[in-house]
Structures are given as C-alpha cells and as structure tokens.
C-alpha cells in the first residue's frame, strides 16, 4: 500500500517541492526506513511519527515494514518539517483518507510526541515554491501561518495537531484559510 503527499525542502533561501512517498507492506516487521539522503533529524522522524500516531489514537502498522522515500532522492534533506507529511502518509496507507489523492496540498510540520505540530524553518519559501508549481493549498504549523500567508495566490491553512490535519483532509470545507494584510504588517 503506497500513499504520496507533497512537502518542501530548503536549499539556500529557496525551497523546492519534495514528494513524500510512504509504503507499507510485507517485510521484516518493525522495519521503518527513510531514504532520500535524509539527515539525522529527518531519520529521527520515525520515532516522532510513531509516538504521535499512537498518542492520537491512530494505529501504527508495527507488524509490517514501512519505507519512506523523499524524492528527489539525490538531494540532501534536512530538518524536521517532514514529520507531518510522513505521519499523514502512514494514515493514508491505512485508509484514513479513503484513497483521496492529495496532489493539491503541500504539508510542513514537526511533530511532538503527543501529536501537536511545531514550527519549521523556511515556510515562506515553501509557500512560494508551492505557488510556482501550481499547488494551491499549503498546510503549515500555526506558528508559521502568518509568514506563509504573505504569499498571494495560494491558500494557507494552519494546523495545531495531527488529528486536525487529518480532519482538514477529510473535510476541507470546514477550515478557513489564513489571511493577512501584508501592507498593514509592514507599517
């Protein structure tokens, strides 16, 4: 079972889109590998996503093998912003989103062990990268919402926790995008 979501990685001060692919299937039970030139913080997301899923009342498929690929696989990835898309990918593989395709969203967020979403670096650049690729919806931690909402032409949603992010995917109409007045922010 394979589920894909989009996220973003920072390179200099620009960001580029990263496709987060989560695959769950037969193999050594308990195996959980993250590939795509991920650095230590990215690999540690295994522990964070596992604990976050369990603490929010979701299942973690401990009896199967999990593989996460962060594409493009030949660019070094760093940071904890992929926690949220990986966790959502794990949920997607278990049917939480009823097979919905999420190619209109970019997700960013670090996860606490209790499932709350923490701030990340480079949210503004990620929002710009999403707009450039024609992706209209950007889902970010609450602390990064105002920064990302400066970008015009996209809808920025702020999420506080993993369950909230899952709700957003299943009933997007009950969530309002964040809006800011950049001219007013400047004065």
């Amino acid at each position: 079972m394979l589920f894909k979501t989009f996220s973003a990685a920072v390179y200099g001060i620009d960001a580029y889109l990263v496709e987060v692919e989560v695959d769950i299937g037969p193999g050594q039970p308990g195996n959980f590998n993250v590939v795509g030139l991920a650095d230590i913080a990215v690999k540690e997301s295994r522990e964070r996503t596992k604990a976050a899923l369990k603490n929010c009342g979701f299942d973690f498929p401990g009896h199967l093998a999990v593989t996460v690929n962060l594409a493009p696989a030949d660019m070094r990835k760093e940071g904890s912003a992929f926690d949220l898309p990986v966790a959502l990918g794990l949920l997607g593989c278990q049917g939480t989103f009823f097979g919905k395709v999420l190619d209109e969203y970019v997700f960013l967020g670090e996860l606490s062990l209790d499932g709350s979403v923490r701030s990340v670096r480079g949210a503004l650049s990620a929002a710009l990268a999403a707009r450039e690729r024609g992706i209209k919806n950007v889902v970010v931690p609450e602390a990064n919402a105002r920064e990302a909402a400066v970008v015009e032409g996209i809808r920025v949603f702020s999420v506080k926790s993993l369950p909230k992010a899952a709700d957003l995917i299943n009933s997007p109409e009950s969530f309002a995008p964040v809006s800011v007045d950049s001219r007013q922010m400047l004065s």
Partner: protein
C-alpha cells in the same frame, strides 16, 4: 540620544548615500547607540524587500513568529569572536550567515580591530557583489547579502588617544599596530570615518530636544529619490556610494574653486587617489541632502572632514 551632533550628521550623510561608515571614539561615547539608529533613519523597506528579508530569517530559524513579516530593516551586530562561517554562512547544508541576516539592513562590527583578519576577508564578496556564494562538494548556493556596513573602533588600544579629560598611555608604535589590524581592502570600502568623542556632561544634562528620527529619515528619503533619478540610466546603481570611478566625472562635477580646495587638501593631508574619489562621492551626497545640483566647496570641505583615519593616522 543626547549630544554627538557631528556624528549624527555623518550618520545622516552615510544613510542618505548608502555609504559605509566607521566610528572612532573612546569607550562609552555612544558608537553603538548611533549604529542602532541606522534602521530608523534608512528609508522603510518596500514589500519586496520585506519578503526577501523574511525568507532569509525564516530559513535561518530566527523569525519572530508573532509578526510573520520582518517589518523593520534588520540590525545585526555579531561579536568579534565570530567565525568566518558564522559571518557569511556555512554548514553541511549551508545556512545564512550574519551578512545575509543583515540583508537590506545594517551589519555593525563593534571593536573592528578585534575581529580576526581571515574573518574580515570573507566580507569582500558581499561588499562587492551583494551576494555570498557558498560551494560544497554536492551543491553550491548563493545567499543575498547587501547591507550597509557600520563599524566602530577605539582610537588606540587603551581607547583614550585624543581625549581631553583622560591620558592615553599608548606608544605611537602600539597605536600604529592597532590601527593597521584593519586591512586596507576593507578600509577601502568605508567612505566615511567620524570621530565620536566622549559626550560632555553639559550636553548630557542639557534640555535641548534631540531631533526625532522621523524627520532625519525624511531628508534621507528625499536625498535617495534624487539619486534614483540621477542613476535611472545606469545599471544597478541606486545610491552615490555605488558609483564606479569612471562615472564620477559624469555625475560628481565640481567647480574650479572646488578643484583647488580638493587639491590643497589632498596635498596637505597626503591623501591617496582613492580618498579623492571617496570625498567626491560623499560630497555628492551632501549636496543631495542640501538639495543643490552642483557640488560646492562647502560640501567638499564637509566631505574632507570624513577622512579622519587618513588624517590622524596616516598623514
């Protein structure tokens, strides 16, 4: 801020023309306070500049999340023990350094002679090109790094050379060694040197109001507008500080009287050809602040005042 009229004027001139500035004075004279004023008298950031600055701060992880957008020009003041990577950026996946965090704002280097020479060397690319290129085995990244450079130093190792109330115990040799710690190429990029003497007690206790930043900013903005018009035809020049030597003649013409004054000053003070160009650029800015089209001897005299290091240490 009380007192320090000539230093405040020098600061206004520096901001009006985009000139880098060096403050020379004893400890406690107010050099840091002056530098902190710079973001309040530079023109406010445009939305594009604010977005660019916010991106850099966001990527570096120093964004204050309650605001969302960096609204005032950044003011960065790294300690003199900073490494070269800390100043221009670095790391396995490169992150912005202080010069990029100061993009569109001010980089203030206090105690300039205390910075390591190899660290100051890395300022060359940002000062010249306004960007920093960092190459790694797998990737090469460039960060924006266009900032106004402000620096401060004591006049000598003990700090009290030239002070009327305290004795300086440094030998001429010590002073020479101290001042030559600053590399020639770096000094070359600083158009204005100003002495910041200790504030007299009378001025500290005086009742005259200090001028609010807003009115100084207005004069700076007016002067900047004149420069934008003047350089509309030239590529990538937005302020007098950026003029190439070959454009000096075109945009900074002076009268015959002015020529004579400048020649005398250069001979008497033993200034170099580089100092000559710098004086012209600064005089052009002063004329812009005064709102007059041609540089007069009055502006040249004031500009000559801003070559303190040349006069005091290397004459």
């Amino acid at each position: 801020m009380r007192g320090q009229q000539s230093a405040k004027r020098a600061l206004e001139v520096a901001c009006a023309g985009g000139h880098n500035i060096l403050f020379i004075g004893p400890p406690g004279a107010g050099k840091t306070m002056l530098a902190k004023r710079i973001p309040t008298i530079l023109p406010p950031m445009s939305l594009d500049e604010a977005i660019e600055t916010t991106r850099i701060h966001s990527v570096a992880g120093v964004l204050d999340d309650s605001r969302g957008l960096v609204a005032t020009r950044p003011y960065r003041s790294p300690h003199h023990t900073i490494s070269d990577a800390g100043l221009i950026g670095g790391g396995a996946i490169p992150r912005p350094g202080e010069v990029s965090l100061g993009h569109n704002g001010v980089l203030f280097l206090d105690e300039l002679p205390e910075f390591q020479r190899n660290v100051l060397e890395v300022l060359r690319q940002p000062l010249e090109d306004g960007i920093v290129c960092i190459a790694r085995a797998a990737l090469s990244v460039s960060f924006p790094a266009r900032f106004m450079l402000a620096a401060a130093m004591n006049p000598c190792p003990c700090g009290f050379f030239g002070d009327p109330t305290r004795d300086c115990h440094c030998t001429p040799m010590q002073i020479q060694r101290y001042v030559s710690k600053i590399s020639g190429p770096l000094l070359d990029r600083i158009d204005i040197h100003i002495e910041v003497p200790a504030v007299k007690y009378k001025e500290l206790r005086g009742t005259t109001e200090a001028e609010p930043s807003a009115s100084v900013r207005q004069r700076v903005m007016d002067a900047r507008r004149l420069q934008l018009d003047r350089y509309a035809a030239e590529k990538k020049i937005y302020a007098n500080a950026q003029i190439m030597p070959k454009l000096l003649r075109k945009h900074c013409g002076i009268s015959a009287d002015g020529e004579k004054l400048l020649e005398t000053a250069i001979q008497k003070l033993g200034l170099s050809a580089r100092a000559h160009d710098r004086i012209l650029k600064v005089a052009r800015t002063i004329a812009d602040l005064d709102g007059i089209p041609d540089i007069q001897p009055r502006q040249l005299s004031e500009a000559i005042q801003y070559r303190t290091l040349d006069r005091t240490y290397w004459a």
